[in-house]
């Protein structure tokens, strides 16, 4: 049984694409067959985050319009045998596809893959509606900031209105433990309390994320704190019961953490 999961946030710049890429790679490392779908038509991004930008021939819109077969547009990642990317179109806009077409595409992908991860564009307009149309689960990404949480709340409301009430989980990104300790950043508990949805994972603010994005090599599963946190999220998605990492403040470049 395959899973169609949309990764969304409302607000832009909170780390949707990075999260999608890393969860995808995490799942591929766990030997799941995964396709990452970039649904942000006009603002293609996922390809550069996973370093596949030079291999794009066809895209999502080509598939939907019948300019190519689905298999021709899927790019296989050479580093992870089980990971594929369906890139977005760069020269078109969100109105060129409909929610019904996305639903059909997701249905076709379900025949081939264990996990279909849909990277959603920012906003609540057409692009968002397209992205959630074929999804049965949603992951909402937020950061511990007032604006991001407000938008996450709005998105959760819209997802609930689209029959996903029991299938919404939360990822809190860019948590700075030092600031939480000083009382200058909302804690994980605060955010979960406000949004009242299940917590799927917490990603610490880690400069390795920027470095890995520079290189086009997502870090899920490496030794960094963020890499571990992303892999744990992928494991939780497969049904494994993984305890949350206790994030530690960095001291003189030494990152220390341990399981609770």
């Amino acid at each position: 049984m395959s899973e169609v999961i949309v990764i969304t946030s409302g607000k832009g710049g909170v780390g949707k694409t990075t999260t999608a890429a890393n969860i995808g790679i995490g799942l591929a490392r766990l030997n799941k067959k995964v396709v990452l779908v970039d649904t942000d038509i006009g603002l293609r991004n996922l390809d550069v985050v996973i370093g596949l930008e030079n291999r794009i021939v066809y895209n999502l819109v080509d598939v939907i319009e019948g300019n190519c077969r689905l298999k021709q547009a899927l790019i296989r990642d050479k580093r992870y045998e089980e990971l594929y990317l369906l890139p977005s179109a760069q020269t078109r806009d969100k109105t060129c596809i409909s929610p019904e077409q996305m639903k059909k595409l997701c249905g076709d992908l379900e025949e081939e893959f264990d996990y279909i991860l849909l990277d959603c564009p920012a906003g609540i307009e057409q692009g968002f509606k397209n992205a959630i149309a074929g999804a049965r689960k949603a992951i909402v990404v937020t950061t511990p900031e007032v604006s991001a949480i407000r938008d996450a709340d709005r998105i959760i409301g819209l997802l609930e209105a689209n029959d996903m009430r029991d299938n919404i989980s939360l990822i809190i990104n860019r948590v700075r433990v030092d600031m939480v300790k000083r009382g200058e950043m909302m804690s994980v508990e605060d955010v979960v309390d406000i949004l009242a949805v299940d917590l799927l994972g917490v990603i610490p603010d880690d400069e390795q994320v920027v470095i890995s994005t520079n290189q086009g090599e997502p870090l899920a599963g490496d030794s960094s704190q963020a890499g571990q946190a992303f892999l744990n999220i992928s494991r939780r998605l497969t049904g494994e019961d993984v305890p949350f990492l206790e994030l530690k403040t960095k001291r003189r470049g030494l990152s220390r953490f341990f399981h609770r």
Binding site: E145, V146, I149, R150, D153, R154, G157, V180, R182, G183, E184, M185, M186, S187, D190, I194, A196
Partner: protein, 82 residues
């Protein structure tokens, strides 16, 4: 609230308080001003029949289950308090 009091409150607490107020009004599609008007109307209506402690009236909303709760204490002079 004075400047010193603001300084004492940690910014994470301020953020949380601001968000809670904001989200209540947004989820209800009802602004904080509307909430205050609702509260005042409730006080006005109840006061027609009994004396209440106006300063201590609270109106709050919870989500699951979604309930509007109003706490309207009687005034000390009210016969209930004798």
């Amino acid at each position: 609230m004075g400047w010193f009091e603001l300084r004492k409150k940690k910014s994470s607490t301020i953020a949380k308080d601001r968000l809670k107020l904001l989200l209540v009004s947004e989820r209800l599609d009802c602004s904080p001003t509307t909430m205050i008007m609702l509260k005042n109307d409730l006080i006005k209506t109840i006061s027609k029949y009994m004396t209440v402690e106006e300063d201590q009236v609270t109106v709050s909303i919870s989500y699951s289950p979604s309930i509007l709760t109003a706490q309207i204490p009687f005034a000390e002079s009210h016969p209930m308090n004798y």
